[in-house]
Protein backbone atom coordinates (compact mmCIF):
# COMPACT_ATOMS: atom_id res chain seq x y z
CA UNK A 1 0.00 0.00 0.00
CA UNK A 2 1.13 3.51 -0.71
CA UNK A 3 2.12 5.81 2.09
CA UNK A 4 -0.86 7.80 3.42
CA UNK A 5 1.19 10.97 3.71
CA UNK A 6 2.31 10.71 0.08
CA UNK A 7 -1.25 10.32 -1.14
CA UNK A 8 -2.50 13.25 0.90
CA UNK A 9 0.45 15.35 -0.26
CA UNK A 10 -0.52 14.80 -3.89
CA UNK A 11 -4.19 15.54 -3.20
CA UNK A 12 -3.23 18.71 -1.35
CA UNK A 13 -0.97 19.84 -4.21
CA UNK A 14 -3.88 19.52 -6.64
CA UNK A 15 -6.63 20.91 -4.41
CA UNK A 16 -4.81 23.77 -2.73
CA UNK A 17 -1.53 24.49 -4.50
CA UNK A 18 -2.61 24.71 -8.15
CA UNK A 19 -0.68 21.64 -9.31
CA UNK A 20 -1.54 20.96 -12.92
CA UNK A 21 -0.17 19.99 -16.28
CA UNK A 22 -0.09 23.30 -18.06
CA UNK A 23 -0.26 22.07 -21.63
CA UNK A 24 -0.30 19.07 -23.89
CA UNK A 25 0.90 20.42 -27.21
CA UNK A 26 0.73 18.38 -30.39
CA UNK A 27 3.39 19.32 -32.91
CA UNK A 28 2.36 18.74 -36.51
CA UNK A 29 4.62 19.00 -39.54
CA UNK A 30 3.07 20.80 -42.50
CA UNK A 31 6.02 20.26 -44.84
CA UNK A 32 3.94 17.83 -46.91
CA UNK A 33 1.25 20.52 -47.34
CA UNK A 34 3.48 22.91 -49.30
CA UNK A 35 1.79 23.85 -52.57
CA UNK A 36 2.20 26.76 -55.03
CA UNK A 37 -1.58 27.09 -55.07
CA UNK A 38 -2.42 28.69 -51.72
CA UNK A 39 -6.00 27.41 -51.66
CA UNK A 40 -4.82 23.86 -52.16
CA UNK A 41 -2.12 24.34 -49.51
CA UNK A 42 -4.71 25.66 -47.03
CA UNK A 43 -7.02 22.76 -47.69
CA UNK A 44 -4.17 20.27 -47.06
CA UNK A 45 -3.24 22.11 -43.85
CA UNK A 46 -6.80 22.00 -42.55
CA UNK A 47 -7.25 18.32 -43.37
CA UNK A 48 -3.96 17.28 -41.79
CA UNK A 49 -4.51 19.18 -38.54
CA UNK A 50 -8.07 17.92 -38.19
CA UNK A 51 -7.03 14.35 -38.94
CA UNK A 52 -4.13 14.21 -36.46
CA UNK A 53 -5.58 16.35 -33.68
CA UNK A 54 -9.24 15.31 -33.76
CA UNK A 55 -8.92 13.31 -30.52
CA UNK A 56 -6.41 15.59 -28.76
CA UNK A 57 -8.84 17.50 -26.56
CA UNK A 58 -10.97 14.45 -25.67
CA UNK A 59 -7.85 12.42 -24.83
CA UNK A 60 -6.53 15.22 -22.63
CA UNK A 61 -9.83 15.36 -20.76
CA UNK A 62 -9.94 11.57 -20.30
CA UNK A 63 -6.40 11.45 -18.92
CA UNK A 64 -7.20 14.36 -16.66
CA UNK A 65 -10.21 12.48 -15.23
CA UNK A 66 -8.43 9.16 -14.87
CA UNK A 67 -5.46 10.52 -12.95
CA UNK A 68 -7.29 13.35 -11.24
CA UNK A 69 -4.78 15.90 -12.58
CA UNK A 70 -6.04 19.08 -14.23
CA UNK A 71 -4.65 19.49 -17.75
CA UNK A 72 -5.23 23.16 -18.38
CA UNK A 73 -4.48 23.57 -22.07
CA UNK A 74 -4.60 21.41 -25.16
CA UNK A 75 -2.74 23.08 -28.01
CA UNK A 76 -1.22 22.59 -31.44
CA UNK A 77 1.94 23.91 -33.02
CA UNK A 78 2.88 23.58 -36.66
CA UNK A 79 5.81 24.01 -39.05
CA UNK A 80 6.72 27.72 -39.40
CA UNK A 81 4.16 28.96 -41.92
CA UNK A 82 6.78 31.08 -43.74
CA UNK A 83 8.05 27.80 -45.19
CA UNK A 84 4.66 27.17 -46.75
CA UNK A 85 4.22 30.82 -47.72
CA UNK A 86 7.51 30.70 -49.64
CA UNK A 87 5.94 28.41 -52.24
CA UNK A 88 3.11 30.87 -52.93
CA UNK A 89 4.98 34.11 -52.42
CA UNK A 90 2.60 36.29 -54.39
CA UNK A 91 -0.40 35.46 -52.21
CA UNK A 92 -1.18 37.06 -48.85
CA UNK A 93 -0.13 34.52 -46.18
CA UNK A 94 -3.01 35.64 -43.94
CA UNK A 95 -5.00 32.89 -45.70
CA UNK A 96 -2.87 30.42 -43.71
CA UNK A 97 -3.66 32.20 -40.44
CA UNK A 98 -7.38 31.99 -41.19
CA UNK A 99 -7.20 28.30 -41.94
CA UNK A 100 -5.14 27.61 -38.79
CA UNK A 101 -7.77 29.49 -36.79
CA UNK A 102 -10.54 27.46 -38.37
CA UNK A 103 -8.69 24.17 -37.70
CA UNK A 104 -8.03 25.15 -34.08
CA UNK A 105 -11.71 25.87 -33.64
CA UNK A 106 -12.70 22.58 -35.29
CA UNK A 107 -10.57 20.43 -32.97
CA UNK A 108 -11.27 22.56 -29.88
CA UNK A 109 -7.77 23.66 -28.88
CA UNK A 110 -7.29 27.07 -27.26
CA UNK A 111 -4.18 28.17 -29.19
CA UNK A 112 -2.35 27.17 -32.33
CA UNK A 113 1.26 28.29 -32.74
CA UNK A 114 3.46 28.40 -35.80
CA UNK A 115 2.52 31.54 -37.72
CA UNK A 116 6.26 31.93 -37.66
CA UNK A 117 9.43 32.69 -39.53
CA UNK A 118 13.04 31.80 -38.73
CA UNK A 119 15.16 34.67 -39.98
CA UNK A 120 18.22 34.68 -37.73
CA UNK A 121 20.56 35.14 -40.69
CA UNK A 122 18.36 36.51 -43.43
CA UNK A 123 15.02 36.41 -45.22
CA UNK A 124 14.09 33.62 -47.60
CA UNK A 125 11.01 33.80 -49.86
CA UNK A 126 7.93 33.80 -47.68
CA UNK A 127 9.63 35.26 -44.60
CA UNK A 128 9.07 38.96 -45.24
CA UNK A 129 5.50 38.58 -46.57
CA UNK A 130 4.68 36.54 -43.46
CA UNK A 131 6.30 39.01 -41.06
CA UNK A 132 4.51 41.91 -42.72
CA UNK A 133 1.19 40.06 -42.47
CA UNK A 134 1.46 39.32 -38.73
CA UNK A 135 -0.50 42.39 -37.50
CA UNK A 136 -3.39 41.60 -39.85
CA UNK A 137 -3.26 37.86 -39.06
CA UNK A 138 -3.37 38.43 -35.30
CA UNK A 139 -6.18 40.97 -35.53
CA UNK A 140 -8.34 38.74 -37.71
CA UNK A 141 -7.88 35.47 -35.85
CA UNK A 142 -8.58 34.35 -32.32
CA UNK A 143 -6.41 31.29 -31.68
CA UNK A 144 -3.33 31.87 -33.85
CA UNK A 145 0.02 32.73 -32.24
CA UNK A 146 2.95 34.17 -34.15
CA UNK A 147 6.67 34.06 -33.48
CA UNK A 148 9.80 35.20 -35.26
CA UNK A 149 13.32 33.99 -34.48
CA UNK A 150 15.69 36.88 -35.15
CA UNK A 151 18.94 35.56 -33.73
CA UNK A 152 20.94 32.63 -32.46
CA UNK A 153 24.30 31.93 -30.86
CA UNK A 154 25.46 30.35 -34.12
CA UNK A 155 24.10 32.99 -36.50
CA UNK A 156 24.28 36.25 -34.55
CA UNK A 157 21.47 38.80 -34.53
CA UNK A 158 19.71 39.82 -37.73
CA UNK A 159 19.18 43.51 -37.06
CA UNK A 160 17.11 44.17 -40.21
CA UNK A 161 14.58 41.70 -38.82
CA UNK A 162 14.86 43.23 -35.35
CA UNK A 163 14.09 46.67 -36.77
CA UNK A 164 11.11 45.33 -38.66
CA UNK A 165 9.77 43.49 -35.59
CA UNK A 166 9.60 46.72 -33.59
CA UNK A 167 7.21 48.05 -36.21
CA UNK A 168 5.26 44.78 -36.39
CA UNK A 169 4.71 44.72 -32.61
CA UNK A 170 3.50 48.32 -32.65
CA UNK A 171 1.18 47.70 -35.58
CA UNK A 172 -0.18 44.49 -33.97
CA UNK A 173 -1.06 46.48 -30.86
CA UNK A 174 -2.58 49.35 -32.87
CA UNK A 175 -4.82 47.04 -34.88
CA UNK A 176 -6.21 45.52 -31.69
CA UNK A 177 -6.24 48.73 -29.64
CA UNK A 178 -9.97 48.36 -28.97
CA UNK A 179 -9.47 44.91 -27.38
CA UNK A 180 -6.59 45.57 -24.96
CA UNK A 181 -3.94 45.43 -27.72
CA UNK A 182 -4.26 41.63 -27.56
CA UNK A 183 -2.55 41.20 -30.95
CA UNK A 184 0.86 41.97 -29.43
CA UNK A 185 0.25 39.45 -26.63
CA UNK A 186 0.08 36.67 -29.23
CA UNK A 187 3.43 37.57 -30.82
CA UNK A 188 6.89 36.57 -29.57
CA UNK A 189 10.29 37.56 -30.90
CA UNK A 190 12.90 34.94 -30.07
CA UNK A 191 16.63 34.35 -30.03
CA UNK A 192 17.73 30.69 -29.95
CA UNK A 193 14.13 29.52 -30.33
CA UNK A 194 13.71 25.87 -29.32
CA UNK A 195 12.03 23.68 -31.93
CA UNK A 196 10.08 21.62 -29.41
CA UNK A 197 8.68 24.26 -27.07
CA UNK A 198 5.10 23.40 -26.01
CA UNK A 199 4.36 26.85 -24.54
CA UNK A 200 2.63 29.67 -26.37
CA UNK A 201 3.00 32.10 -27.94
CA UNK A 202 6.44 30.92 -29.07
CA UNK A 203 5.58 27.32 -29.96
CA UNK A 204 6.26 26.05 -33.47
CA UNK A 205 7.09 22.63 -34.86
CA UNK A 206 10.75 22.57 -35.90
CA UNK A 207 11.86 21.04 -39.19
CA UNK A 208 13.97 18.41 -37.42
CA UNK A 209 10.95 17.08 -35.55
CA UNK A 210 8.96 13.97 -36.50
CA UNK A 211 5.74 14.27 -38.52
CA UNK A 212 3.65 14.46 -35.36
CA UNK A 213 4.77 14.60 -31.73
CA UNK A 214 3.40 15.15 -28.24
CA UNK A 215 5.21 17.63 -25.98
CA UNK A 216 4.08 18.40 -22.46
CA UNK A 217 4.65 21.49 -20.35
CA UNK A 218 4.37 21.03 -16.59
CA UNK A 219 3.78 23.80 -14.11
CA UNK A 220 3.58 24.18 -10.37
CA UNK A 221 4.83 27.49 -8.92
CA UNK A 222 2.19 27.15 -6.20
CA UNK A 223 3.55 23.77 -5.14
CA UNK A 224 7.13 25.04 -4.94
CA UNK A 225 6.03 28.06 -2.96
CA UNK A 226 4.03 25.92 -0.53
CA UNK A 227 7.07 23.66 -0.01
CA UNK A 228 9.28 26.68 0.72
CA UNK A 229 6.71 28.09 3.09
CA UNK A 230 7.06 24.96 5.22
CA UNK A 231 10.86 25.41 5.28
CA UNK A 232 12.43 26.74 8.46
CA UNK A 233 13.79 30.31 8.43
CA UNK A 234 17.06 28.75 9.59
CA UNK A 235 17.41 26.64 6.42
CA UNK A 236 20.31 27.83 4.30
CA UNK A 237 20.20 28.22 0.52
CA UNK A 238 21.67 24.75 -0.11
CA UNK A 239 18.72 23.31 1.77
CA UNK A 240 16.30 25.59 -0.10
CA UNK A 241 17.75 24.42 -3.42
CA UNK A 242 17.34 20.77 -2.35
CA UNK A 243 13.74 21.38 -1.36
CA UNK A 244 12.99 22.93 -4.77
CA UNK A 245 14.69 20.01 -6.51
CA UNK A 246 12.62 17.43 -4.64
CA UNK A 247 9.41 19.30 -5.43
CA UNK A 248 10.33 19.77 -9.10
CA UNK A 249 11.03 16.05 -9.33
CA UNK A 250 7.52 15.16 -8.17
CA UNK A 251 5.88 17.70 -10.47
CA UNK A 252 7.84 16.45 -13.45
CA UNK A 253 7.12 12.78 -12.76
CA UNK A 254 3.46 13.60 -13.00
CA UNK A 255 4.05 15.40 -16.32
CA UNK A 256 6.01 12.43 -17.64
CA UNK A 257 3.15 10.08 -16.75
CA UNK A 258 0.63 12.29 -18.54
CA UNK A 259 2.90 12.68 -21.58
CA UNK A 260 3.44 8.94 -21.95
CA UNK A 261 -0.24 8.22 -21.54
CA UNK A 262 -1.21 10.89 -24.11
CA UNK A 263 1.40 9.54 -26.52
CA UNK A 264 0.08 5.98 -26.10
CA UNK A 265 -3.57 6.88 -26.51
CA UNK A 266 -3.05 9.15 -29.51
CA UNK A 267 -0.53 6.82 -31.20
CA UNK A 268 1.86 9.74 -31.55
CA UNK A 269 5.49 9.65 -30.36
CA UNK A 270 6.38 11.40 -27.11
CA UNK A 271 8.79 14.29 -27.69
CA UNK A 272 9.81 16.12 -24.57
CA UNK A 273 8.75 17.38 -21.19
CA UNK A 274 9.28 21.10 -20.70
CA UNK A 275 10.30 21.63 -17.07
CA UNK A 276 8.94 25.11 -16.69
CA UNK A 277 7.46 26.82 -13.70
CA UNK A 278 4.68 28.62 -15.53
CA UNK A 279 2.74 31.01 -13.31
CA UNK A 280 -0.90 31.99 -13.68
CA UNK A 281 -2.63 35.13 -12.40
CA UNK A 282 -4.35 32.97 -9.72
CA UNK A 283 -3.29 33.99 -6.24
CA UNK A 284 -0.60 31.62 -5.02
CA UNK A 285 0.45 30.38 -8.45
CA UNK A 286 3.24 32.89 -8.79
CA UNK A 287 6.98 32.66 -9.45
CA UNK A 288 7.50 36.07 -7.83
CA UNK A 289 6.01 34.73 -4.59
CA UNK A 290 8.52 31.86 -4.61
CA UNK A 291 11.35 34.41 -4.74
CA UNK A 292 9.70 36.36 -1.93
CA UNK A 293 9.30 33.15 0.08
CA UNK A 294 13.09 32.79 -0.11
CA UNK A 295 13.42 36.03 1.81
CA UNK A 296 13.02 38.99 -0.54
CA UNK A 297 10.69 41.77 0.61
CA UNK A 298 9.35 42.05 -2.93
CA UNK A 299 10.30 40.64 -6.30
CA UNK A 300 12.53 43.16 -8.07
CA UNK A 301 14.59 44.24 -5.06
CA UNK A 302 18.34 43.55 -4.99
CA UNK A 303 18.91 39.81 -4.66
CA UNK A 304 16.10 38.92 -7.06
CA UNK A 305 18.44 37.83 -9.86
CA UNK A 306 20.37 35.56 -7.49
CA UNK A 307 17.20 34.01 -6.07
CA UNK A 308 15.82 33.44 -9.58
CA UNK A 309 19.08 31.82 -10.73
CA UNK A 310 18.92 29.41 -7.78
CA UNK A 311 15.28 28.61 -8.50
CA UNK A 312 15.81 28.11 -12.23
CA UNK A 313 18.76 25.78 -11.71
CA UNK A 314 17.08 23.73 -8.98
CA UNK A 315 13.94 23.24 -11.07
CA UNK A 316 16.04 21.81 -13.89
CA UNK A 317 18.14 19.59 -11.63
CA UNK A 318 15.06 18.17 -9.96
CA UNK A 319 13.12 17.71 -13.15
CA UNK A 320 15.76 16.24 -15.38
CA UNK A 321 15.92 12.89 -13.58
CA UNK A 322 12.14 12.61 -13.55
CA UNK A 323 11.76 12.61 -17.32
CA UNK A 324 13.24 10.53 -20.11
CA UNK A 325 13.48 13.51 -22.48
CA UNK A 326 13.65 17.12 -21.41
CA UNK A 327 13.47 20.01 -23.85
CA UNK A 328 11.62 23.17 -24.78
CA UNK A 329 12.33 26.15 -22.58
CA UNK A 330 12.67 24.34 -19.23
CA UNK A 331 13.10 26.86 -16.43
CA UNK A 332 11.18 29.50 -14.54
CA UNK A 333 8.96 31.84 -16.56
CA UNK A 334 8.66 35.45 -15.47
CA UNK A 335 5.76 36.90 -17.46
CA UNK A 336 4.68 40.09 -15.77
CA UNK A 337 0.95 40.14 -16.54
CA UNK A 338 0.45 36.42 -15.84
CA UNK A 339 1.90 36.42 -12.32
CA UNK A 340 0.12 38.04 -9.37
CA UNK A 341 3.41 38.72 -7.56
CA UNK A 342 5.06 40.26 -10.60
CA UNK A 343 2.02 42.46 -11.26
CA UNK A 344 2.15 43.72 -7.67
CA UNK A 345 5.91 44.33 -7.87
CA UNK A 346 5.61 46.22 -11.15
CA UNK A 347 2.74 48.32 -9.80
CA UNK A 348 4.64 49.26 -6.67
CA UNK A 349 7.66 50.28 -8.74
CA UNK A 350 10.01 47.78 -7.08
CA UNK A 351 10.23 45.78 -10.31
CA UNK A 352 11.57 47.86 -13.19
CA UNK A 353 12.26 47.01 -16.80
CA UNK A 354 16.01 47.19 -16.10
CA UNK A 355 15.81 44.63 -13.31
CA UNK A 356 13.54 42.45 -15.39
CA UNK A 357 16.16 42.43 -18.14
CA UNK A 358 18.83 41.31 -15.67
CA UNK A 359 16.53 38.53 -14.44
CA UNK A 360 16.09 37.24 -17.98
CA UNK A 361 19.81 36.44 -18.12
CA UNK A 362 19.25 33.63 -15.62
CA UNK A 363 15.71 32.40 -16.31
CA UNK A 364 14.25 30.41 -19.13
CA UNK A 365 12.56 32.98 -21.27
CA UNK A 366 12.83 36.75 -21.36
CA UNK A 367 10.83 39.94 -21.27
CA UNK A 368 7.46 38.29 -21.31
CA UNK A 369 4.05 39.99 -21.24
CA UNK A 370 5.51 43.40 -20.45
CA UNK A 371 3.10 46.29 -21.03
CA UNK A 372 4.76 49.52 -22.25
CA UNK A 373 3.47 53.07 -22.82
CA UNK A 374 1.44 53.38 -26.03
CA UNK A 375 3.69 56.11 -27.43
CA UNK A 376 6.82 53.92 -27.27
CA UNK A 377 8.52 54.18 -30.67
CA UNK A 378 9.20 51.20 -32.93
CA UNK A 379 12.93 51.94 -32.60
CA UNK A 380 12.76 51.58 -28.80
CA UNK A 381 10.87 48.30 -29.14
CA UNK A 382 13.53 47.08 -31.59
CA UNK A 383 16.31 48.14 -29.22
CA UNK A 384 14.67 46.27 -26.34
CA UNK A 385 14.49 43.20 -28.59
CA UNK A 386 18.16 43.60 -29.53
CA UNK A 387 19.26 43.92 -25.88
CA UNK A 388 17.31 40.83 -24.95
CA UNK A 389 18.43 38.83 -27.98
CA UNK A 390 22.13 39.36 -27.29
CA UNK A 391 21.66 38.11 -23.72
CA UNK A 392 20.39 34.90 -25.30
CA UNK A 393 23.05 34.85 -28.00
CA UNK A 394 26.02 35.35 -25.69
CA UNK A 395 24.76 32.95 -23.01
CA UNK A 396 23.65 30.28 -25.51
CA UNK A 397 20.14 30.28 -24.10
CA UNK A 398 16.68 31.12 -25.34
CA UNK A 399 15.44 34.64 -24.83
CA UNK A 400 12.06 35.86 -25.92
CA UNK A 401 10.39 39.22 -26.06
CA UNK A 402 6.65 39.70 -25.81
CA UNK A 403 5.98 43.41 -25.44
CA UNK A 404 2.56 45.00 -25.50
CA UNK A 405 2.48 48.72 -26.29
CA UNK A 406 -0.72 49.91 -24.58
CA UNK A 407 -2.09 52.19 -27.27
CA UNK A 408 -3.40 55.43 -25.75
CA UNK A 409 -2.16 54.52 -22.25
CA UNK A 410 0.63 55.77 -20.04
CA UNK A 411 2.52 54.70 -16.91
CA UNK A 412 0.01 54.30 -14.09
CA UNK A 413 -2.62 52.70 -16.32
CA UNK A 414 -3.21 49.01 -17.05
CA UNK A 415 -4.23 46.53 -19.70
CA UNK A 416 -6.61 43.67 -18.80
CA UNK A 417 -6.36 40.63 -21.06
CA UNK A 418 -8.33 38.22 -18.88
CA UNK A 419 -7.85 34.49 -18.48
CA UNK A 420 -4.33 33.08 -18.31
CA UNK A 421 -2.88 36.23 -19.89
CA UNK A 422 -3.90 38.27 -16.84
CA UNK A 423 -3.41 42.01 -16.60
CA UNK A 424 -0.39 44.25 -16.54
CA UNK A 425 0.52 47.76 -15.45
CA UNK A 426 2.22 50.00 -18.01
CA UNK A 427 5.96 50.01 -17.18
CA UNK A 428 8.26 52.96 -17.81
CA UNK A 429 10.85 52.77 -20.60
CA UNK A 430 14.15 54.62 -20.75
CA UNK A 431 13.54 57.97 -22.54
CA UNK A 432 16.83 57.92 -24.52
CA UNK A 433 16.73 57.21 -28.27
CA UNK A 434 18.41 54.17 -29.87
CA UNK A 435 17.18 55.30 -33.31
CA UNK A 436 20.64 55.69 -34.88
CA UNK A 437 21.82 52.29 -33.70
CA UNK A 438 18.70 50.42 -34.75
CA UNK A 439 18.47 52.05 -38.18
CA UNK A 440 21.95 50.84 -39.15
CA UNK A 441 20.54 47.35 -39.79
CA UNK A 442 22.83 44.53 -40.88
CA UNK A 443 23.87 41.73 -38.57
CA UNK A 444 25.49 41.56 -35.15
CA UNK A 445 28.15 38.89 -35.73
CA UNK A 446 27.89 35.59 -33.88
CA UNK A 447 30.01 35.65 -30.72
CA UNK A 448 33.16 33.63 -30.13
CA UNK A 449 31.03 31.27 -28.02
CA UNK A 450 29.55 29.97 -31.27
CA UNK A 451 32.86 28.51 -32.43
CA UNK A 452 32.77 25.31 -30.45
CA UNK A 453 33.94 22.85 -33.10
Amino acid sequence: MLNTQDILETINMIDNEHLDVRTITMGISLLDCIDPNIERACSKVYDKICRLAQDLVKTGEDISAQYGIPIVNKRICVTPIAMLAGACEKDNPVAFARILDKAAQAVGVNFIGGYSALVQKGFSPGDLPLIDSIPQALSETQYVCASVNIGSTKAGIHMDAVRRMGEVILESARRTADCQCIGAAKLVVLCNAPEDNPFMAGAFHGVGEPDCVINVGVSGPGVVRAALRKASPADNLSQIADLIKRTAFKITRMGQLVAQEASRRLHVPFGIIDLSLAPTPAIGDSVAYILEEMGLSQCGCHGTTAALALLNDAVKKGGVMASSHVGGLSGAFIPVSEDAGMIAAAKSGVLTLGKLEAMTAVCSVGLDMVVLPGDTSAAVLSAIIADEAVIGMVNAKTTAVRLIPAIGKQVGQELHFGGLLGSGPVMAVNPGSPEGFVSRGGRIPAPLQSLKN
Binding site: D6, I7, I14, A65, G68, M254
Partner: protein, 89 residues
Protein backbone atom coordinates in the same frame (compact mmCIF):
# COMPACT_ATOMS: atom_id res chain seq x y z
CA UNK B 1 -6.43 -1.35 -12.75
CA UNK B 2 -6.25 -0.17 -9.17
CA UNK B 3 -7.56 3.18 -8.04
CA UNK B 4 -7.02 5.18 -4.89
CA UNK B 5 -10.12 6.72 -3.37
CA UNK B 6 -9.50 9.48 -0.83
CA UNK B 7 -12.22 10.94 1.34
CA UNK B 8 -11.47 14.19 3.15
CA UNK B 9 -13.73 16.20 5.42
CA UNK B 10 -15.39 16.39 8.79
CA UNK B 11 -15.75 13.01 10.49
CA UNK B 12 -19.28 11.56 10.56
CA UNK B 13 -21.03 8.23 11.05
CA UNK B 14 -21.21 5.85 8.12
CA UNK B 15 -18.69 7.29 5.68
CA UNK B 16 -16.85 4.02 5.19
CA UNK B 17 -20.17 2.18 4.76
CA UNK B 18 -21.47 4.61 2.16
CA UNK B 19 -18.30 4.63 0.04
CA UNK B 20 -17.83 0.87 0.22
CA UNK B 21 -21.50 0.26 -0.60
CA UNK B 22 -21.12 2.28 -3.79
CA UNK B 23 -17.95 0.34 -4.65
CA UNK B 24 -19.79 -2.96 -4.05
CA UNK B 25 -22.72 -1.89 -6.22
CA UNK B 26 -20.28 -1.22 -9.05
CA UNK B 27 -18.35 -4.45 -8.41
CA UNK B 28 -15.17 -2.59 -7.41
CA UNK B 29 -13.24 -4.70 -4.92
CA UNK B 30 -11.91 -2.85 -1.86
CA UNK B 31 -8.38 -4.11 -1.21
CA UNK B 32 -7.22 -1.92 1.63
CA UNK B 33 -8.53 0.87 3.83
CA UNK B 34 -6.67 3.27 6.13
CA UNK B 35 -8.11 6.13 8.13
CA UNK B 36 -6.47 8.97 9.97
CA UNK B 37 -7.29 12.30 11.49
CA UNK B 38 -5.19 15.18 10.19
CA UNK B 39 -5.62 18.61 11.78
CA UNK B 40 -9.19 17.70 12.84
CA UNK B 41 -9.91 16.63 9.27
CA UNK B 42 -10.96 13.06 8.66
CA UNK B 43 -8.99 11.33 5.92
CA UNK B 44 -9.87 7.90 4.60
CA UNK B 45 -7.86 6.24 1.87
CA UNK B 46 -9.07 3.14 0.04
CA UNK B 47 -7.34 1.11 -2.58
CA UNK B 48 -9.85 -0.57 -4.88
CA UNK B 49 -9.49 -2.90 -7.82
CA UNK B 50 -11.73 -1.55 -10.57
CA UNK B 51 -10.70 -3.95 -13.35
CA UNK B 52 -13.93 -5.98 -12.90
CA UNK B 53 -16.12 -2.95 -12.22
CA UNK B 54 -19.53 -2.87 -13.90
CA UNK B 55 -19.10 0.75 -15.05
CA UNK B 56 -16.13 2.51 -16.69
CA UNK B 57 -13.73 4.09 -14.19
CA UNK B 58 -14.54 7.64 -15.29
CA UNK B 59 -18.21 7.02 -14.46
CA UNK B 60 -17.41 5.51 -11.06
CA UNK B 61 -15.20 8.51 -10.36
CA UNK B 62 -18.08 10.87 -11.13
CA UNK B 63 -20.43 8.89 -8.87
CA UNK B 64 -17.93 9.01 -6.02
CA UNK B 65 -17.40 12.76 -6.42
CA UNK B 66 -21.18 13.24 -6.39
CA UNK B 67 -21.50 11.06 -3.28
CA UNK B 68 -18.88 13.22 -1.58
CA UNK B 69 -20.71 16.41 -2.50
CA UNK B 70 -23.90 14.98 -1.01
CA UNK B 71 -22.09 14.25 2.26
CA UNK B 72 -20.21 17.54 2.36
CA UNK B 73 -16.94 15.63 1.95
CA UNK B 74 -14.28 15.87 -0.75
CA UNK B 75 -13.86 12.54 -2.55
CA UNK B 76 -11.17 11.91 -5.15
CA UNK B 77 -10.78 8.72 -7.17
CA UNK B 78 -7.53 8.51 -9.07
CA UNK B 79 -5.49 5.88 -10.91
CA UNK B 80 -2.83 4.55 -8.53
CA UNK B 81 -0.07 5.30 -11.08
CA UNK B 82 -0.18 9.00 -10.31
CA UNK B 83 0.98 8.29 -6.76
CA UNK B 84 3.47 5.62 -7.81
CA UNK B 85 5.09 7.94 -10.31
CA UNK B 86 5.25 10.93 -7.99
CA UNK B 87 6.50 9.20 -4.88
CA UNK B 88 8.50 6.17 -6.04
CA UNK B 89 11.63 6.07 -8.12
Amino acid sequence: MKAIITVLGKDMVGILAKVSTLCAQRNANVIEVTQSIMQDMFAMIMMVDVSEASVPFLELEKELVALGEGLGMKIHAMHEDIFNSMHRI
